[in-house]
């Protein structure tokens, strides 16, 4: 996979969640994702960015425009040095929440993208990588 362009931005507070939604939207428009796919990716990014801020204690979002053969896509990496997710399987289930949400964040975000990968170690942090292909 070829990375054509990359940018990293901080996720410290809920204003950053809004900014990251807007950044993901403009990057999605740039590779001409369909409106439905843009909306799905921005919604997934909103869920994951909020998780990074609320549960991870803040972190970063890295946006990458990627190319794999003829197809183009966007890869988003959400990273934090927070407490980590002890039971990933359970965290991905609908209805599971450790906060005040609906428990649709992780599992819901997974359904909205093409590729979804969690790397998390208790006490060290969490890295969630998602890809949406055009």
């Amino acid at each position: 996979m070829l990375i054509r362009k990359a940018d990293a931005r901080p996720l410290r507070n809920e204003d950053d969640v809004v900014f990251s939604r807007q950044a993901v939207r403009s990057w999605a428009v740039e590779i001409a994702l369909s409106l439905v796919d843009q909306t799905k990716l921005v919604t997934a990014a909103s869920e994951l960015a909020r998780n990074t801020v609320v549960y991870g204690g803040g972190g970063t979002l890295t946006l990458e425009q990627v190319e794999d053969g003829a197809r183009r896509g966007l890869r988003l990496v959400f990273e934090d040095q927070g407490p980590g997710i002890p039971d990933i399987e359970r965290a991905l289930q609908d209805g599971f929440t450790s906060g005040g949400g609906l428990g649709l964040g992780l599992g819901g975000a997974k359904r909205l993208v093409n590729e979804f990968h969690i790397d998390s170690r208790p006490g060290e942090g969490t890295r969630i990588t998602v890809v949406k292909w055009k």
Binding site: D15, Q22, V36, T39, T43, S46, E47, D94, G108
Partner: protein
Amino acid sequence: MDRIPILKMGRFLLVTIQVDMHDRLALTLQDDLTERIVKDGTRGVLIDISSLEIVDSFIGRVLGNIAAMSRVLDAKTVVTGMQPAVAITLVELGLTLPGVRTALNVERGMELLQGELDQEGLATVETDADPQG
């Protein structure tokens, strides 16, 4: 502090969300609306989200809360103008907004609220006219 304006129209309250809401703003709207429902004796709340480009689980929860709180306070809520791409995404996300009434646009939303109010009025008149119950 940022606030989303709430307009009063007869016995209804109107809100149009025109900005990309951060979480605090959505919670402020929830509090403001609940207060105004009581203060103004509101019977219906219309929230237009036609400018909203996404509804994630947080905003979905706030909409559900507003509907539930207004129901407890004897007011109906209708959410209008959801964009098709938002609707598709919501369902895939697993969010079906239970308890939230929706209408295609503001006009139909107002008709819905007015219709419910008229029906209630009719029911009251019927009860009054028939003392046997």
